[in-house]
């Protein structure tokens, strides 16, 4: 599996080489953007408006805007130097009870998978967290961002969830009901209704209706008319490297004699 990041996760004196992989991916029906004129697929590229040309990754640098059209370039090495202790290490500082974490803190889920040599200590961390029902709290840096993360055990694997910082959670006080009165009989009637509607959560019960409708639409369309064909990309018609072309020409002369 291709990782988003690789490094080590550590707790106290134990260090485990791991890779970060995604835990969610958007559903199956995905469209491609095409050029309306020739049905050629479009690719997202960085484009220089001044030179009116595509820019390859090695010519791109991050920049911070300090004024209109004025940027301070910052290199990847400089970014990594900001928190060198955290850019390759997820150091668990506390073990917490995940039930204490308000789910409002949860941001994005990933999994950690062990890299070579880390399998055993990975297994140990997962198993020990499962038995103690604890999750590890750590900070680490990915690209230019530092994340607070919770690492927990699920089905023998380590799941990592990025958490929001305290200051990012908006205070709810302002929208709280001004009237704090509570009618006891209304509440107990609701509790009764809720009790009647209690069930086990099974996410599979809720299909993505939109996706199903899109699939139906596509089936209908496929029957109505054939798909359009993207043109194959005819690349520059140069013949190839000089040496190779010369060698091929030489060979062709003898091949043709023989056939």
């Amino acid at each position: 599996m291709q990782g988003i990041w690789s490094g080590t996760i550590s707790f106290s004196l134990v260090a485990i080489p791991v890779q970060l992989v995604k835990a969610v991916e958007p559903g199956r029906v995905s469209f491609r953007l095409l050029h309306g004129e020739d049905f050629s697929p479009l690719a997202r590229r960085m484009f220089c408006p001044k030179e009116e040309a595509m820019v390859p990754p090695e010519e791109i640098v991050r920049g911070y805007e300090i004024g209109p059209e004025q940027y301070i370039p910052v290199t990847a090495e400089e970014l990594e130097s900001v928190s060198p202790e955290r850019s390759r290490t997820i150091e668990i500082v506390d073990f917490i009870d995940l039930a204490e974490v308000d789910p409002i803190y949860f941001d994005h889920p990933y999994y950690l998978v062990p890299l070579k040599g880390g399998e055993k200590s990975y297994r140990l961390l997962a198993e020990v967290m499962r038995r103690t029902n604890k999750a590890g709290l750590a900070k680490f840096v990915l690209a230019e961002r530092e994340y607070l993360v919770a690492v927990r055990s699920t089905e023998g694997a380590l799941a990592l969830t990025t958490l929001h910082y305290r200051e990012e959670i908006l205070p709810a006080g302002e929208i709280a009901p001004r009237d704090g009165t509570l009618e006891a009989d209304v509440k107990s009637r609701m509790k009764k209704s809720i009790g009647k509607m209690m069930a086990d959560f099974n996410p599979g019960d809720y299909g993505d209706e939109r996706r199903e409708r899109i699939v139906d639409l596509l089936k209908r369309k496929a029957r109505e008319r054939p798909p359009v064909e993207a043109p194959s990309v005819e690349e520059d018609v140069e013949e190839g490297p000089v040496d190779l072309v010369a060698a091929l020409e030489e060979i062709m002369r003898t091949v043709k004699k023989g056939t």
């Binding site: 490094g7 707790f11 106290s12 134990v14 995604k22 835990a23 491609r32 953007l33 050029h35 049905f39 050629s40 479009l42 997202r44 960085m46 484009f47 408006p49 010519e59 920049g63 300090i66 940027y71 301070i72 090495e77 400089e78 970014l79 130097s81 928190s83 202790e85 955290r86 290490t89 073990f95 009870d97 789910p103 409002i104 055993k120 038995r131 230019e144 961002r145 927990r152 089905e155 799941a159 910082y165 305290r166 990012e168 908006l170 709810a172 302002e174 929208i175 704090g180 209704s193 809720i194 509607m197 209690m198 959560f201 996410p203 809720y206 209706e209 639409l217 596509l218 369309k221 798909p227």
Partner: protein, 256 residues
Amino acid sequence: MTGGTIWKGTIHFADTDIAVKLHAAVREDRIQFHLLHRHDLVRLRQQMICALEKKPVPAEAQIKGFEVEEGKYLIVDPEELEELSPESSRMIEVHEFVTRDGIDPLFLGHAYYLEPDLPARGYNELAAALGEMDAAGICTWAMRKRAYLGALEARGGILRLHTLRHADEVIGAGSLQLDEIPLTERELKIGIDLINQLAAPFQPEKFANEHQKKLQQLIEQKVRGEKVAILRPKRLKPTAPDKLLEALEASLKKVA
């Protein structure tokens, strides 16, 4: 500051209807970088490039296709997709209630606070009932032409909605194919002791985004034209499998 109302709807289940307004519950304020051309620091724009002509294609000339076979597409008009959008409705329909811990955090998406919309009778009662029962309502609603699945919860007397991911968007841990590796009772016992020693309450206020401040300093340093020291990232030496017990014992000694 919660920002403005995002959407208005009515929570519905059994004989209960409660009008609410949605507000964002989280706001991220992080340093933004742009991508520049290295040699002249011109800001780059993302463009959709035609694979054939190698030229940027403006939005009005872009169409959507579904690949049915390599290089073959069914063209779908925006209007056709529009027709598939859910009918607009103001209802947040609760289908069932579940215990809050029955929802795997992997499914949680965005969070919204719900403000009672006048006249919102029953708001306080529902918040109290859900809180006391430690329950969440699994609900669906359509907002801005999109259908959502969500969990209705209450904390501190305030109702909120968490969007939930659909089952086929979540990758099961089973697909990671992790090997079962036997552990000794001693390794487990010391591991458990160690974790219990390192246990702490969750105190989010303890964790500030220090990195953000350091980034700010880095930028200021660069604006002043100062040289930035390049520090190599710290890499820890992995604990060898046969040294695991030793490392655990040493750890325990250190914290105990």
